[in-house]
């Protein structure tokens, strides 16, 4: 059986056969439906492939996307979405765990890399302060979650806008990026060296981070197999 990943890949390739007008119509709908992230990914990609094949076949007969799916793509997409199966709770949970491992993995690798480079210049403190670390991890995970949800929301809201105001998104993104970075610096500065300390050398940090990323990949594959 074809995998979900293969369907996505195939969709990307086949979309290029659409006329400019049909491509615009179809891609807007694709973005909108995909941004509903609680829907079953498998069902979503199967449906998008069906609609794309339908549109390609219709295009040969001189039909436009508007002829086939109607003049109000958002209303049509909402009608379809209302009938789509939701992602299984277990797969949602696994996806969440996979994301957490991935974010933490990169965090720990970054720490290892920074300390590693610094250690060649000057002696570094290779201790992990439990309270400080917990605060930082909580902040990073929370900000990641908020960021991802906000992004999905923006994509969902703007999917059918004629002129996508990219500069507005860029400004909002930039400002929030600076604010989040400031928050992390603040935590790093004011929550310095709190709580019991354990030794965690930079090499170990790199290693642990790497293992976490592997784990995240493994969960992702496991998740795809059961979806």
């Amino acid at each position: 059986m074809v995998t979900t990943k293969e369907l996505i890949q195939e969709n990307n390739e086949k979309r290029e056969q659409l006329t400019e007008e049909n491509e615009q119509y179809y891609t807007n709908m694709l973005v909108y439906i995909r941004s509903k992230f609680l829907l079953s990914e498998r069902a979503t990609e199967e449906l998008l492939m069906e609609m794309l094949e339908h549109l390609l076949e219709g295009q040969k007969d001189g039909k436009s996307a508007e002829n086939i799916f109607g003049g109000d793509p958002r209303a049509y997409a909402d009608e379809v979405i209302a009938q789509m199966p939701k992602e299984k709770k277990k797969n949602q949970l696994l996806f969440g765990i996979q994301l957490i491992f991935s974010v933490l993995g990169w965090m720990v690798i970054a720490r290892g890399a920074i300390l590693g480079v610094l250690s060649f210049i000057k002696p570094v403190d290779e201790h992990l302060y439990l309270a400080s670390t917990a605060a930082m991890v909580a902040a990073v995970l929370m900000m990641t979650a908020v960021g991802v949800l906000l992004l999905i929301n923006v994509v969902n809201k703007t999917a059918f806008e004629e002129k996508k105001s990219t500069w507005k998104v860029a400004i909002v993104g930039g400002v929030s990026g600076v604010l989040v970075f400031g928050l992390f610096m603040g935590i790093a500065f004011f929550f310095k060296e709190r709580g019991p300390a354990i030794e965690f050398p930079w090499v170990a940090s790199l290693l642990v981070g790497f293992v976490m990323l592997l784990l995240s990949q493994w969960i992702a594959r496991k998740n795809e197999a059961t979806a």
């Binding site: 059986m1 074809v2 369907l7 195939e10 069902a43 199967e46 449906l47 492939m49 069906e50 609609m51 094949e53 339908h54 390609l56 076949e57 219709g58 039909k63 002829n67 086939i68 799916f69 109607g70 049509y76 009608e79 379809v80 209302a82 009938q83 789509m84 199966p85």
Partner: protein, 113 residues
Amino acid sequence: MSVRSELLKGILDGCVLAVIEKETVYGYELSAKLQQLGLDDVSEGTIYPVLLRLQKNNWITGEMRASESGPRRKYYTLTEEGKEALAFIRSEWGKLAMPVNALLKGETDGGDD
């Protein structure tokens, strides 16, 4: 929306089931068949929410396969439950169609079509 497509809405599930009962079809084929039968004022896209709903009810199953000529298609087949549902819809439609026909035929002489 025309009166005809309003009326069709309620019985479209039954029409789709009846087409699939005859043979396994994919989306484009299904919409072409419906149009050939004269049900041509539902927009083609309308079948997808219907197909999703019928799958959710477990009346039909869809299987994604690549056809020999290239396109990837999802072929739909009726389930046992689907057959029962279609039989039920058929008998309900029969009970409705006859009295409605009798009633409306008596009243339309030279009405607008």
